[in-house]
Symmetry: none
Subunit: 214 residues, 4 copies
DNA sequence: CATGAATGAGTATTCATTCAT
DNA sequence: TATGAATGAATACTCATTCAT
């Protein structure tokens, strides 16, 4: 038997409904922003698509800007979750790297709006200190640094500043994501990951040439 | 009876003046677009800064869009010239790569508006088939492919699809440029080039670990 | 089994509570309207200040307009009560006039929102035939007319149309109230009443000059 | 023969046209604001009435608020000019007062929008230090003070603080204007002026009663 | 009876573009 | 040719009111 909580009179808030609708709005918003760009996205159209009143939209997000930034945050968080999930339970560090790369590329391929919305964020909110993407990247970084340091001390990767690795790797992933999207490149995440890992791990020079440089 | 002068009436076109002013306009436009974004840039402000009438602007560029795209083309062309100049007279291919990387990073560092305007282009003209950047990249690519093929046949770089090299290298440069700009990273082009070349050439793995993979 | 109480279902109406809350609402509404103007006053804010739901507000007053007009009526009524009280038990007519003037000015000084709300009423409900103020003034007037007529027949005031007196006196009070409020004039009701009565009673001309006019 | 001034190229500004149109706009605006109130007045409607584009409106007045306040200033200035003209060339001070009163009442009767717009100003711009009306009243006052002082020293008006006269007279005029407008009172300026002057000059009390008070 | 979630009509302002001079 | 006055389409956000609970 369920005890009915004594509640104050009036129409009760349904927090579940609220959350669900919040998600629905952000989903639809992401699509709309990705398709029409920030300024091109009309709040009225969004409300219509969702079958709710425009005022309701504003009950959930107090401005177009807030709505947009919430949508960015949301996909960004989903990316992190996806990447994190891909390496869960994997112990071998090199394997972790490979899986993370594949998961990242896969996510971006599956969510084309993601790249678009990152662009829009930069284009329209240049004055936010850091783009959402880099806020999250920052937050995620320490784990990888630790891993690289450990591999280095084991002699499995060459001695070099760890930031060199994270910077170059991060920039490469970032650039790949954009270039894929902008050029409509059709490589599968799988083969693209293979290419990236091949070069990041071994470089392009033949071993003899590598030795000559050191 | 009036003697008709042996040239068509009206002020004669001075093509030199026209070209010079064209450049001035594009310079000022680049700055303005970079600073305020595409929509935020006011053509009236631009005309005022240049000390010309707004109508005059439209005699040179038939729309704000044309003006913007011309400005993008212009910086992009300047980047190519800069990079090309950096490798002129250099014979050693690896040295060419190094110089090109440094020149590229140096140009971007010196022209922050460059990155901004690329973003703006994507954000506002999503429907142009390819962004200007990739049009130019494409046009530039064959030379590098040839070089890589030649190095490969000499055994100086490992056997792999040449596109793997150009893609990964290109994406890395692209990502680095954006990340530098967005995060305000303060590395000098010099040291950043060193980091990139180190990893691109030799990878991050220790030689023993590399051997295990092959 | 639940014992059903021997009264009709639902919460019983408590007319006293209803009236008390009505007053509370009108008090708070007056303040809010005076402070923010008619359009600037937000019904949500009012409900919050009162600690009741917005819907409840609408159970008491069926629209913002009704609420506003009720608030106007209420202060207006309080003004009349105040002025009436000031002359209760006074027999000497000139003394009655003096007391009424002082009471009127005192009330306005104590209730700055009063003037504000009169302005707002005119600004937003131009199409109501007569402003509340003049409805009440009208209703109040006959008593004064009678008094003036009686004074006139006694030869205590000069022969003239009684309406001349009530109009000029009324307009002067009305103008004084507004001017006090708008200019932030700091005279006490006491001294201001003295000035008004001095001139209304004796005019500004010296007796000799007065005689020349008649 | 008229020498054509060398002018810079482009469409020339026609300052006469500009001024004329400015007046036309303010005239139409006054009517519109008076009729519909400040918020009720639609800038689009105004533009349509004037047969110009809405953008053009904004070339002349940078916001609805500016337009409104300019319209207020304009009528207020016209009132002053009218009153000033009415007393030009009159030497007898009491005659000056009489003419000013008649001119003032006549102007208000002829420009009903005048009162309306004063109300609207107060209702919507409560935070402007002083309403336009009182700014102008202030500016005009010293002349009257001087006159009253002079009359007092000549013994033509009773000894009293001059401010008492200007305040009471000013408030009476102000209140009369409002009351006329709000109640739709139909007295002619002529007879109303007579009533006002009669009381202001001689008071309502019979001479015997006046003597008893002093 | 009381509540507050949902609604959607209503409007000032900007700025790219045109075209009369 | 050069100018800048004129234009008008396009759009986020508020808040009084309703009604399901």
């Amino acid at each position: 038997m369920k005890t009915v909580a004594p509640r104050k009179p009036g129409r009760p808030v349904d927090p579940e409904l609220r959350d669900r609708r919040c998600e629905e709005i952000l989903d639809a918003a992401l699509k709309l922003f990705a398709e029409h760009g920030y300024s091109g996205a009309d709040t009225q159209v969004l409300a219509d698509q969702l079958g709710i009143g425009k005022g309701t939209l504003y009950r959930y997000f107090s401005s177009k800007e807030r709505l947009f930034l919430a949508a960015v945050d949301r996909v960004m968080r989903r990316l992190r979750v996806t990447v994190d999930a891909s390496i869960a339970g994997i112990d071998e560090p090199l394997e972790q790297i490979g899986r993370a790369v594949r998961a990242y590329l896969g996510f971006v391929a599956d969510n084309p709006g993601f790249v678009e919305i990152l662009i829009q964020e930069r284009a329209h909110f240049k004055d936010r200190k850091k783009p959402t993407y880099f806020e999250h990247r920052e937050a995620n970084l320490e784990r990888w640094r630790t891993m690289y340091r450990s591999l280095m001390s084991e002699g499995r990767i060459r001695k070099m500043p760890v930031d060199r690795i994270t910077d170059v790797f991060g920039d490469l992933m970032y650039g790949t994501m954009f270039a894929n999207y902008f050029t409509g490149r059709q490589r599968t995440p799988e083969e693209q990951a293979k290419a990236i890992l091949d070069i990041m791990f071994c470089g392009i020079l033949a071993p003899t040439e590598q030795r000559r440089l050191s």
